[in-house]
Symmetry: C2
Subunit: 165 residues, 2 copies
């Protein structure tokens, strides 16, 4: 695993939410990775990111939140051994290895929490993250044509990606 | 489309829930199709089946609810043109074409509601419903190994299935 020089730690709900919300708004405004539109309210986003049973984390660089991810069961009950996760990086901090560091961190955390595998349900095919996830051991196990209305590219396929832990 | 001799209609939240809940308990007890365990509470199930923006329907035969399904966007915002649905048939009423009738009904309803495609995220590979969905025009677009802990068969693959509308 690569060394990264910024801490990644569990999010403190009250203190960190403002920073996470700022990043979400930047990412959602681009309309190229998330299904969530710029019209998503703060309340809707808060429910998405921290609804129990979910674990939220932040990456902090020079005292500022530059990324965040959540980790949760992808299904309840008889499917809850497979984790799901979602990641965001501050657009102004891209290219600094924050996404990769959070990806590696999440694999360690998921194992520690007892998950046996991790699954992403909605990786936009045009997103460079596809390559990152493949480098981190994920395989594309399914593709749904036209499932994302990319703001710039129009209807775009999404991938389902998976790896064992 | 096959003719079916029982009505399928929108669920009336207050009046129909008791019947839907009975079916859910029977289906969940088998542990062979749903991720939801028999320990799922009435409150959890109610949230699953009728959380907005979701549409719930019931199939009624001789005055009794013998099946139910929900229809909702599979993703928010930029993915909300793809519907997701979940179906249950009373185990005591199986083999009567109720599943197929609800499947056909849901395709008509989904089109009427403006959806452009339908996606199932978690079809247990050992479930005979896989064949039914293929007959109704769905394709397997992805498979996740071991994602379901089948009560009898142990770790079992699940399929992601999709069709355009």
């Amino acid at each position: 695993m690569a060394v990264h020089l910024f801490p990644i730690r569990p999010a403190a709900a009250a203190d960190d939410f403002a920073g996470i919300w700022l990043i979400f708004q930047s990412v959602a405004a681009a309309g190229n990775t998330f299904a969530y539109t710029p019209e998503t309210t703060r309340e809707q986003f808060s429910a998405l990111w921290s609804d129990a049973p979910s674990h939220a984390y932040v990456a902090v660089r020079e005292g500022r939140i530059v990324g965040s991810y959540y980790l949760k069961p992808n299904q309840p009950g008889l499917g809850n051994h497979v984790a799901n996760a979602g990641y965001m990086v501050d657009p102004a901090a891209r290219g600094g290895g924050i996404g990769r560091a959070m990806g590696e961190h999440s694999l360690v955390e998921a194992r520690r929490l007892g998950f046996k595998a991790m699954q992403f349900n909605f990786v936009v095919a045009a997103n460079p993250a596809v390559k990152l996830w493949q480098e981190l051991g994920f395989a594309i196990v399914g593709t749904v044509p036209g499932a994302f209305r990319h703001t710039r590219l129009g209807p775009t396929a999404i991938h389902i990606m998976h790896r064992n832990l």
